[in-house]
Symmetry: C2
Subunit: 228 residues, 2 copies
DNA sequence: TGTTGAATTAACCATTCAGTCAAACTATCT
DNA sequence: AGATAGTTTGACTGAATGGTTAATTCAACA
């Protein structure tokens, strides 16, 4: 009984995730989700009182999947800044490759209702940070500050740290949000696209270091594992 | 009479654009568009038989605004490749700053229905190109080929041209698609965001050249106007 | 095997919304 | 003024869809 309940709930969430990511909250139909989960529409409401409630559950999970690993990396004190940049890029790309619809879904729903950000971040992202007095919201800012320190030390080129961080994220995320266009204009099928995005990781890491590091040469490179 | 007709049609298109960009085709309401245009809903249908028809008209215009200037630049034979990169970035950013909702709107609607791309591009983009045998669809590919030539000549670093082009577009477009997050995590209000995106242009140009050009130094730089 | 509470279902309800229609209005020309 | 063609409008329709309900099934247990 209990087992069945959990199993059904899980089926619903998976189905809902698929449908919501494909169509957004507006385009999704409760009937469609029910069909996808192979249950009756009334049962769907039995488990999740309303569409909005169901959506929030799914969206919160997705949002965290989209954000938390990256946030963890940005402030991981066991990694040098260069290693963090490298890991940030691979981790981000990996998440997206495994979940192609995620980026656009997140972007679109956040844009439709930016206020969600406040409780989404404050809500469950408290699981990271809080060891010292850096709240999760300030992680990007803190990361930017560390880049600035590197610049001041003379290790890095003169970049605007905030612009630099956003550029990293852009290069990781955008090609997934614009997948149909990438495929269309560079004439790639699904498999070629996947391969292209897989290769892209190393390419972006290279770009990231060319932009930031003084005297960077792709050959000698920066440590790819272990401390720098 | 004729004058009034045109004027109404224009009002409808502006209203529809605003509502569609805000809510997408699914979220938009014909009544809302009618209200925005200050006409009766029946009149709306008098001018545009259906929602889909109205949407297509608006979307096609928006798509072209989003694409054509950049395509023109990519293949402008009067500019050197470096100048084209520079112009590409400023032109793209300029378009986005003036129309903040455009990128996400395009991305979302293309993603919802990728088949549109075929007739959208073949449809009206024939206005560019066709002088020689480079069709508009092949412009990015052609642009990539020219980068490759530069690499082979030894002028540029070893980059994957397709990845490079997509990175340029990413850095230009993504921060607009992710505007709420940029604002939220770097704590900017509308004005600060705007300023940030304005400054960003030069920053990206710098990044683009650091990635591509051998021996690039932001100081000496590449010609900012005229032939290189 | 009968009782109980949770899970499932078909049928139904209420609302929203794109699209239609016929009547009314307006401008222009004769 | 009357006729004509183009435009506007309120009222309406039908389909889609989120959500409810009451009856039924099912699983567990005494």
């Amino acid at each position: 009984m209990l087992k069945k309940e959990i199993q059904t709930e899980q089926k619903i969430l998976e189905a809902a995730r698929k449908v919501f990511q494909r169509s957004g909250i507006g385009g999704a139909r409760m009937q469609e989700i029910a069909d996808e989960a192979e249950i009756n529409k009334a049962s769907l409401h039995y488990y999740y009182r309303s569409k909005e409630k169901l959506f929030q559950t799914v969206f919160q999970e997705d949002f965290h999947q989209f954000m938390i690993p990256q946030f963890k990396i940005m402030r991981d004190p066991s990694l040098s800044l260069e290693e963090r940049i490298r890991t940030f890029i691979t981790s981000y790309s990996e998440t997206m490759v495994e979940n192609l619809h995620l980026p656009l879904f997140i972007l679109h729903e956040i844009s439709r209702n930016p206020d969600r950000l406040v409780y989404l971040v404050k809500g469950k992202m408290g699981m990271i940070a809080d060891e010292d007095n850096v709240s999760e919201i300030q992680i990007p800012t803190a990361f930017a500050r560390q880049i600035r320190e590197g610049i001041n030390r003379g290790d890095y080129h003169e970049v605007d740290p905030e612009q630099y961080i956003i550029s990293l994220i852009s290069m990781c995320v955008f090609p997934f949000a614009g997948r149909p266009m990438v495929k269309f204009f560079f004439n790639k099928d699904d498999e070629q696209y996947r391969e292209f995005m897989q290769k892209r990781q190393d390419e972006i890491i290279d770009y990231a270091f060319r932009i930031l590091l003084k005297g960077y040469q792709p050959g000698k490179s920066v440590a790819s594992k272990g401390k720098g």
